[in-house]
């Protein structure tokens, strides 16, 4: 298939015609799912806010199921397809492998997404995102997810194919860029994730149509979480890649060490398959040895990887800023960063929120014995709103401020509001995560319609602080929804009404990436000339570690105060 290549005048990035269209459509569909997810989010919040309690129970559980599915699967996967095509075709300046098949993948994902949502809104599939057996959804609920997964799997295949095309057609020399490498780890993990998903959702689909008699509840949980958690590892690999990407574009930041950053990505691949374990820590049937070994992905090696990225990403920014002359004190590089640029501010809030809130809470939650204090409480969604939303979604939102001008060739409208949006969304979502975790620490359940237990044979009164936390959840949840809505308005408004930008020269052939200058190479080889110390990052990382250690041991203290268990 003949195609054309457009060189963006603003960035120098080269977009292949088919890849560009696919990225646009995937991103647009992703945003539409985010809209559905956002509306359902508002309804969920207004119901869990004890003072409002908007929806009746049946509608609440239906809407909550839709919220989980549309946010975690539909929005994120569609956006990730765009990221994969960008990291391969655009960054490697080559044609996309088998674009027709990519359209098939896209259609499968759209059809699957709609099918699954039809099942949910028909009201017979209020089984939550996890769809734990033996609670049963309508067959097309499972089938819809399977179609989306098949589409995503094809997308990953096209990504790998595009890497081969680039290598074969020699559009670059040496190794693939770090961002592409990170996207590659995401795609490899995605293949594992989808394979795990197929091996549990296919039988579950057959069970829902009556071909299989029974599915073991614990087996389901173990295999399902190899999908459920590994998919979050896909998100982590994707959004960490985007952090590096934004650091590179905004600051011209170079990784402190290619070796360290790539090794950290590799750790994600090596240990992710054990991710399902830490969802089973309070389950019957698994031995303590198995739980301990697999906690937080085999002896914390994936945590180690995230801690490394948490150092190298701000470190790369600091080094780039210091080279530009922002060398005063520990933090001039950070103070004088472009805080008014939503691409950067969103990325940095994503980085800090993911590390301090999502990361620390995740490891504590994933500690074998401590899990008993938090399992299935509101702490769990609090944690993953800090990881998946502050981490992944906010990173995706930030890069969109970059992609709208480059990819869609439109200027962002209302620049003042664009500046505010990452703060409104990032900060309210971070506080939301925090107060949700607070409520969970006090025992409040997740996925629960009525914390007053109306209709129960007994009474149980939660502590007043739990009601306070749930009220704050309501307030900050609504603020976060406003922040998300603002983003959708800005992006959709810019696509429709933004000033059209110059597309740049179009050519029939790709222009290969020029080979690196040997001069720069020799300087860095000897070390000292290019090396810049990053004391500010050391301080930030130490702060993270100290918070981590304190919070970790506080929870052991909590645990030591409950009933004795053995």
């Amino acid at each position: 298939m003949s195609t054309t290549y457009r060189t963006c005048p603003a960035s120098g990035l080269q977009f292949e015609n088919q890849a560009e269209k696919l990225m646009r459509w995937n991103a647009v569909v992703g945003v539409l799912w985010l809209l559905v997810g956002g509306i359902t989010a508002l309804l969920v919040i207004l119901t869990r806010w004890p003072a409002i309690k908007l929806l009746p129970a049946d509608q609440f559980y239906m809407i909550l199921t839709a919220h989980g599915i549309d946010m975690i699967i539909m929005w994120i996967l569609h956006f990730e397809m765009a990221v994969l095509y960008f990291a391969s075709s655009t960054l490697l300046r080559c044609r996309l492998a088998t674009p027709k098949l990519a359209w098939v993948a896209f259609v499968l994902m759209v059809v699957g997404g709609i099918m699954c949502n039809v099942a949910i809104f028909q009201g017979e599939s209020s089984v939550m995102f996890t769809s734990y057996v033996p609670m049963q959804a309508a067959p097309h609920f499972y089938l819809g997810i399977i179609l989306v997964a098949v589409g995503a799997l094809i997308g990953c295949g096209i990504f790998f194919g595009t890497l081969v095309v680039a290598k074969k057609e020699q559009t670059y020399t040496g190794s693939i860029p770090l961002v592409t490498f990170g996207a590659m780890t995401a795609a490899i993990i995605a293949v594992f994730t989808i394979a795990a998903g197929a091996s549990i959702l296919l039988p579950t689909f057959f069970w829902s149509v009556g071909l299989i008699k029974e599915i073991d509840a614990e087996l389901y949980r173990m295999v399902w979480w190899a999908l459920g958690h590994s998919s979050q590892q896909v998100n982590v690999a994707a959004h960490v890649s985007i952090w590096y990407l934004i650091a590179a574009v905004v600051f011209g930041a170079k990784p402190l060490s290619e070796k360290v950053s790539r090794f950290a990505f590799l750790l994600y691949i090596l240990f992710l398959q054990l991710a399902s374990a830490h969802h089973l820590l309070s389950d019957p049937g698994m031995s303590a040895e198995w739980k301990v070994l697999n906690t937080s992905y085999f002896m914390y090696f994936a945590v180690l990887a995230s801690m490394i990225h948490g150092f190298t990403v701000p470190g790369a920014i600091e080094a780039a800023q210091r080279k530009k002359g922002f060398t005063n004190g520990l933090f001039e590089w950070l103070r004088k960063a472009p805080w008014g640029n939503p691409v950067f501010s969103g990325m940095f809030i994503s980085l800090v929120g993911f590390g301090f809130l999502g990361g620390i809470s995740g490891v504590v939650l994933g500690t074998e014995q401590i899990n008993m204090l938090m399992h299935n409480t509101f702490y769990v969604p609090g944690h993953f709103h800090a990881t998946v939303v502050v981490g992944t979604t906010l990173a995706f939102m930030s890069i969109t401020y970059l992609l709208v001008p480059l990819l869609f060739r439109r200027e962002m409208i209302l620049p003042k509001l664009c500046q505010i949006q990452p703060y409104l969304y990032g900060i309210s979502m971070s506080v939301l995560g925090l107060v949700m975790m607070g409520a969970g620490t006090l025992g409040v359940s997740r996925r629960h319609w009525d914390m007053a237990f109306s209709g129960a044979p007994f009474q149980y009164e939660w502590p007043g602080a739990a009601y306070l936390m749930m009220g704050l959840t309501g307030i900050f949840g609504v603020l976060a929804v406003l922040g998300g809505a603002l983003w959708i308005v800005l992006v959709v408004g810019s696509l429709l009404f933004g000033k059209k930008l110059e597309g740049g020269a179009v050519s029939d052939n790709p222009t290969p990436i020029p080979a690196a200058q040997p001069v720069a190479a020799s300087a860095s080889h000897t070390g000292s000339e290019e090396h810049v110390a990053v004391p500010g990052t050391v301080v930030l990382a130490s702060l993270l570690l100290v918070s981590f250690i304190l919070y970790y041991f506080v929870n052991w203290k909590y645990l030591s105060e409950v009933w004795l268990l053995s």
Binding site: Y61, G174, V179, D216, K259, G285, A288, P457, L559, V562
Partner: protein, 179 residues
């Protein structure tokens, strides 16, 4: 030059790693191993470890055992639904059924005594969430989980269901008395 271009040094894997980075990797690794060791330490010296004792069962088998236990140990009934209050023999076995949508029966325990509480579900998955202590354990159909518990303080405790189990999920509230 940057993360979106191929590494400027072609043999990037031969470049030395800066000592600050090494130090951070080392510290992060030590912390990871400390957290790993902490779980093992708690298994040896800690007093709150979730039991590993679990058996495959069926709702019928488990219900039969629980009914026998209830018939032998009921001390009174409570509420207009006449829910039996069952005194678990000190050091003995107690059975707790999770089903749509109640925890059955009410258990009566004594502070400072150890009990073996058997948990299983008759239907969907449920979540045993003891409040206000805040101990949370997954309860599955087909699995009998035997958890050794020693209440530390007397009082009236509630069991909230914290695994979504359908429309009546929020009414699934159980009770444990500790004397």
């Amino acid at each position: 030059m940057s993360a979106i271009l191929p590494p400027s040094e072609r043999l990037w894997w031969k470049q030395p790693i800066d000592k600050t980075e090494w130090a951070w990797i080392g510290i992060a690794f030590i912390w990871a191993m400390t957290m790993f060791g902490m779980m093992i330490y708690w298994h040896i010296y800690g007093k709150q470890n979730l039991s590993n004792e679990a058996y495959k069962t069926t709702p019928e088998m488990f219900a039969a055992k629980a009914e026998k236990f209830i018939a032998e140990n009921t001390v009174r009934t409570e509420t207009d639904q006449n829910i039996p209050v069952v005194k678990v023999p000190a050091g003995g076995d107690g059975y707790l059924i999770a089903r749509l949508w109640n925890w059955y029966p009410i258990l009566e325990l004594e502070a400072g005594k150890q009990y073996k509480i058997h948990l299983s579900s008759m239907d969907y998955q449920h979540g045993f969430s003891l409040q206000p202590v805040n101990i949370n354990i997954q309860v599955l159909p087909g699995y009998e989980h035997v958890v050794k518990m020693t209440p530390t303080k007397s009082g009236t405790y509630s069991i909230v269901c914290n695994e979504y189990c359908g429309i009546g999920h929020h009414t699934m509230l159980g009770r444990i008395y500790v004397k």
